[in-house]
Symmetry: C2
Subunit: 207 residues, 2 copies
């Protein structure tokens, strides 16, 4: 049955502390998607009838584990970026000099708090793209796990997108803001279609 | 920053052991959705401008925590049901008597392994329904967390549905099988629309 679930993270998520919050949850869902793809690779490698997929599965496993490690680290990165932004908002604003310093710190904090979910969205898109390969070559006995993997990746990507969108309106650097929104829109468009196509392939293989 | 992420569960998910797998991941995503709604309640209660939502938020918090506790327990329940089913498949099948005993054990195991994700799907639907109330009454500063909550609940529900669908074809009790599929289809239909409507409300409030 593997390791029992440690609920400390869920307790922290449910608490009145703002971190970990939705950004960390997005990264964790992405990591879960990557983990499920790794499991599918492990349960395909060395199995009779899947000899031809051996090389592809080894490559997939490497890429899934790289994405998982990155996404796991993003749980803490997201909280750190949020906490830094909150500290900037709490800076003194009595004098003009203080106001200018605080304003610049908030803008820097907003950029970091936008880049964190953007990076999460890119990694979640990576999980979704891997799932499209896993559904073709993975062990059909665990094909539903590819399905759960792609759904976790898609929830992570859409969640990360919300965390980009919440920061963008306050950004003064509109070039940066527009680039972030354009990239998110492209990822959502590509991966929305890819997710539904992988999901449909999984469902067809289940029937 | 709250509790650091314990990666033991993710390591177990990624390993070559079939449990925890997609069923456990579904329950965990549902629990994350419930946890985020609890956080939104905590960050709304006692806040200026949200006095009128006090009673609703207390009720919502209670219901979210009940669902979270149930979904957290389902992570282990799902693995137990799967492991029991695998044990049934490993029973001896030399004599006719053994074959009959094994066949009955497999059918019982399949029913339990269908009921586990069905229960997860019901709880995930509960998270989605709560998010529809949270988006109307929750603190708008953390409205993106309601969005992540509903997306986590929706990923949990669709994932649980795949885990129902993978077992149903082998069930000999077709009345039971049809009831399970009908219930899942109804939950997917209701909650698919509800999720997109909550997501749209969140996005509108972000802009």
């Amino acid at each position: 049955m593997g390791a029992p679930l440690d609920t400390a993270f869920l307790d922290a998520l449910a608490s009145g502390e703002p971190t970990p919050g939705g950004g960390g949850a997005a990264a964790l869902m992405g990591a879960m998607g990557a983990a499920l793809l790794s499991m599918v690779c492990h349960l395909t490698l060395g199995k009779k009838g899947y000899e031809a997929a051996e090389h592809e599965m080894r490559e997939l496993l490497d890429e899934a584990e790289t994405l998982r490690t990155a996404l796991q680290a993003m749980v803490a990165d997201d909280a750190a970026a949020f906490d830094r932004l909150m500290s900037a908002y709490r800076l003194p604003k009595a004098s003009d000099e203080e106001k200018a310093y605080r304003g610049a710190a908030i803008q820097n904090g907003l950029k970091a708090a936008t880049l964190a979910p953007l990076e999460c969205a890119r990694a979640a898109a990576g999980v979704i793209r891997l799932s499209a390969r896993a559904v073709e070559h993975g062990n059909t006995h665990v094909i539903s796990d590819v399905g759960v993997g792609v759904l976790a990746g898609w929830a992570a990507l859409r969640s990360a997108a919300l965390n980009v969108q919440i920061n963008v309106p306050q950004l003064k650097d509109r070039t940066f803001a527009d680039h972030a929104l354009t990239e998110i829109a492209a990822l959502l468009d590509e991966c929305g279609r890819l997710t539904e196509s992988v999901h449909a392939r999984v469902t067809a293989k289940l029937g």
